[in-house]
């Protein structure tokens, strides 16, 4: 790339990227000749000028670099079908509402451009862009315009839009979080007002004429707070009791009720001895709700993994009926139907190829990166991608019976059967609750002989002072801080609770392709006959291979580029490829052949004995060999292998040093998997496994008592990721694996696993410290309260302090990575 930069003469008029010499994308716009970096930019810019929307370029903020337009979405026409639209539109009839998810929006000028452009289309009643969420809310008249033509209009000006199902995507969890936030707001509002009233009371107003008035004001504020903001605690306490469990909600609910009832009693009877604790009621609700809200934010959204999987299955397919192509929704397809799969499309069903030849990318199922060639008689699986030829397929199973559907069911099963994570705080809570209740009851009984009022007050203060806030905040606060710190270092924690589990992991299971290895072929070894230099051969080979789409071709080109060989200017004539064998072309008047050994012998070339022996040796190490002939002589062998990730070795060494068992789990051939394990210094290898077996392997390990972490990246890893105690996905992986995982490592940093483990250990330590702190607080305060020595002012001061100590201790986690680069 650096070489090319040197030749760049100017910048693209649309996106501002450098324009390389030799490319020729120009357009005459408003009398000026403009240069573009690519065809995409050229056509988008021309369309913008033709629509008279060139004001877009003036509106683009200074310093914002536009990007080349994203690829327009495929098969837009299906969105015109009512069956398909039904899932997205919120209004039936001809007036329809839809939300579109848009790729390519980068600045406010895009908002302007999209809204203007859409409003010019016939039939559009409303086009409203949400810049923050990258969405369009569109209302149109289906009689006047079709959805597909609106999406096409967006594609013309450089935006790729797809319908977006808001109800599903936002989900129940988000809604319940929002209602929690409202309750929190209200409690905060009431608390702030009550603090002023309390300050007035403590500074002497409780002796004067306003005493009654302030008590009543407190009652007015605390009553709705208890009913509205405190409702979740009552629901939790009653739900827990019904299920026969002592939950944290129970002492909170009892404490709140007793405190409130006592204060109300004092207020109503205008009793001059007691004091009111309305401020304690609201404080308690507010502080605990903060903890609950934080916890809610990190709850695992496991539902979406299955949804993403379902999305992998195409919604429509082209069915051949009486020799005619007919677009049909997938759910109407029956076994026995004949389906045409065009190049570049996803396979909608499981079936057997009747006609045609093509390579199918099955990486989603097998994890194998190289496409598998398919011809008549071969099986194809739904969700895989057909790459270069059309296939006519007889449907063997559709919908619920496809392999993809089976993976979906596995994921659901794993989700349902996975034991909830036992949190440290949860194991302590029931005992804590029991002890608190007993202490309160004892206090009441002891003081009952003296006076009923004193007994009630002392018992109440025991309930309040045990202060579940510190305990309730111990875990969520630490997890919140740790998640924030992780996010800054490329560790996305989707399920905060696993932070406690990760430090206990005894067994790591790695997926091979794409996780320990880079997931793409690269040239590992090159051998040539003596007398000819490798760079020279590589230059000719790369020149030929740039016309090929094969995975091996990409590897050879990448190698040539890495060595900075100038192969792009080499003239190549008569390029010809034979599927499954190799390619042929003329370079500098010489014939270049690249491919299998059979390809060379077919073209009348005698294989070189030395190279042949070396190739055999390399193939034994699970590499695939590409042979090269120049002129009429066999001159070189390129051995291709999936290279290890740079940081894989280090991670494996560290885990081994820490005494953690490791297993390599791969869908690939045994020889390949074993060669990778050998390179990493040896570990248990389980090869040639199907997705459902991956899940089972994890289950077996768990049954033998191991705490398992799974690191993976493919759709086939999804059930295993969910089943494992901690699922870790790489950010480059498929959406499905990311949705199934508890922790996602961004920027593909495998060594982030180490940081995540460190973070987890630190978090667990902090949680333990926090629980300890709140116990110390209780050990000091509870006896005092039982002796009826805690007056309202002391309680009001110490309660928030104990919470603040817990928060402050959690905040110290932020310093953990001070020595690591972000």
């Amino acid at each position: 790339m650096n070489q090319q930069n040197a030749h760049s003469t100017c910048n693209c008029f649309h996106c501002g990227l450098p324009v390389y010499a030799g490319t020729s994308y120009h357009a005459l716009l408003e009398g000026a000749e403009r240069d573009f970096c690519c065809l995409g930019c050229q056509s988008v810019c021309t369309a913008i000028f033709e629509a008279g929307l060139q004001g877009y370029y003036q509106r683009t903020p200074e310093g914002v670099l536009l990007a080349p337009p994203p690829e327009p979405p495929r098969d837009i026409d299906i969105y015109d079908l009512d069956e398909v639209q039904q899932e997205f539109i919120t209004r039936s009839g001809d007036l329809r509402d839809i939300h579109l998810l848009v790729e390519g929006i980068h600045c406010p000028a895009c908002v302007w451009l999209i809204e203007r452009a859409l409003q010019r289309e016939p039939g559009v009643l409303l086009a409203n862009v949400n810049l923050a969420a990258r969405r369009i809310h569109l209302r149109w008249d289906n009689k006047l315009n079709k959805l597909s033509s609106l999406i096409r209009a967006l594609a013309r000006i450089g935006y790729s839009a797809v319908p977006y199902d808001q109800e599903n995507a936002e989900g129940v969890i988000k809604k319940s979080n929002r209602s929690m936030l409202f309750r929190l707001f209200f409690a905060g509002f009431a608390m702030m007002n009550l603090i002023w009233i309390s300050i007035a009371l403590y500074s002497g107003a409780d002796k004067g004429e306003f005493r009654e008035f302030f008590y009543w004001m407190g009652f007015v504020l605390a009553t709705p707070t208890l009913l509205y903001s405190g409702y979740p605690f009552y629901r939790g306490a009653i739900g827990g009791l019904r299920a026969g469990r002592l939950t944290m909600d129970l002492p909170i609910a009892i404490g709140l009720s007793v405190t409130y009832a006592y204060s109300t009693y004092i207020t109503v009877t205008a009793n001059r001895i007691g004091a009111v604790y309305f401020d304690t009621v609201t404080n308690l609700i507010f502080v605990i709700l903060i903890g609950r809200y934080l916890e809610g934010m990190f709850r695992h959204q496991a539902l979406s993994a299955t949804r993403r999987l379902t999305e992998l299955q195409p919604r429509v397919a082209t069915v051949m009926q009486d020799g005619k192509e007919q677009i049909t929704p997938t759910r109407a397809i029956r076994p026995g139907d004949h389906v045409l799969i065009k190049p570049g499309y996803k396979v909608p069903v499981d079936g057997i190829v009747l006609e045609g030849q093509s390579a199918v990318d099955e990486s989603m199922l097998s994890g194998e990166s190289a496409p598998v060639s398919k011809s008549a008689g071969a099986k194809v699986t739904s969700g895989t991608v057909n790459s270069n030829g059309a296939l006519l397929v007889e449907v063997s199973s559709a919908l619920q019976d496809t392999t993809l559907a089976k993976i979906i069911r596995l994921v659901e099963e794993a989700q349902a059967s996975k034991a909830p994570i036992q949190r440290l705080a949860d194991t302590i809570v029931p005992w804590f609750v029991l002890v608190t209740l007993i202490c309160a009851a004892l206090t009441f009984l002891i003081w009952y002989g003296k006076s009923f009022e004193l007994a009630l007050m002392a018992a109440t203060s025991v309930l309040i002072i045990t202060c579940p806030c510190a305990l309730g905040m111990a875990t969520p606060m630490s997890v919140a801080v740790a998640s924030g710190l992780g996010a800054r270092h490329g560790i996305l924690i989707r399920n905060g609770l696993v932070l406690e589990t990760l430090s206990r992991v005894t067994h790591f299971v790695f997926d091979k392709t794409g996780t320990l290895t880079e997931g793409k072929m690269s040239v590992a070894v090159m051998r040539s006959v003596s007398g000819i230099e490798i760079p020279e051969i590589l230059r000719s080979a790369a020149a030929v291979e740039r016309y090929s789409e094969h995975a091996a071709a990409r590897a050879i080109i990448a190698e040539a580029e890495m060595r900075q060989l100038n192969f792009r200017n080499v003239a190549v004539q008569g390029f010809h490829a034979t599927a499954g064998l190799g390619v042929q072309a003329q370079v500098d008047g010489k014939t270049v052949l690249l491919g299998s050994l059979e390809w060379l012998t077919r073209n009348g070339i005698n294989p070189d004995a030395g190279l042949q022996a070396q190739a055999l040796e390399l193939e034994a190490q699970a590499m695939s060999c590409v042979h090269c002939a120049l002129g009429a002589a066999h001159v070189a062998v390129f051995a291709l292998a999936d290279r290890l990730r740079g940081d894989a070795q280090q991670l494996v060494n560290e885990l081994r040093a820490a005494g953690i068992a490791m297993t390599l789990l791969s869908g690939d051939r045994r020889a390949v998997a074993e060669s990778i394990a050998r390179q990493l210094g040896g570990m248990e290898v389980i090869a040639e496994v199907l997705p459902q077996d991956k899940d089972r392997v994890i289950q077996r390990l768990q049954q033998s008592g191991a705490v398992v972490a799974m690191v993976g990246d493919g759709v086939n890893d999804a059930p295993a990721l969910i089943r494992a105690d901690v699922g870790i996905a790489l950010g480059s992986g498929t959406d499905v694996s990311v949705e199934s995982a508890d922790i996602v490592l961004m920027h593909n940093g495998l060594d982030k696993v180490r940081l995540a483990t460190l973070l987890s250990r630190r978090t667990l330590r902090t949680i333990k410290q926090n629980i300890g702190l709140s116990f110390i607080y209780n050990v000091i305060m509870v006896p005092l309260a039982m002796m009826a020595r805690v007056d309202p002012l002391v309680a009001a001061i110490t309660m928030p302090i104990s919470s603040l100590v817990v928060i402050g201790n959690a905040a110290r986690i932020r310093n953990l990575f001070n020595h690591e680069k972000p």
Binding site: G55, P108, A109, V111, F182, F185, N193, V220
Partner: protein, 51 residues
């Protein structure tokens, strides 16, 4: 000092009004897109009208 008999309930009532307004605003999507509307207001179609 008897003014606080009316001032404190008044303050609480006002606070409640603001709380209700805020909930209304959140529920009606006023906070959904903080950037878009801020910029949209600056981008009118009035080039032709400018002197």
């Amino acid at each position: 000092m008897s003014v606080i008999y009316s001032l404190i309930p008044g303050m609480m009532f006002l606070g409640l009004v603001f709380f209700v307004i805020m909930i209304w605003a959140v529920k009606h999507g006023q906070y959904e897109d903080m950037e878009g509307d801020a910029n949209r207001i600056l981008q009118d179609d009035d080039e032709d009208m400018m002197p």
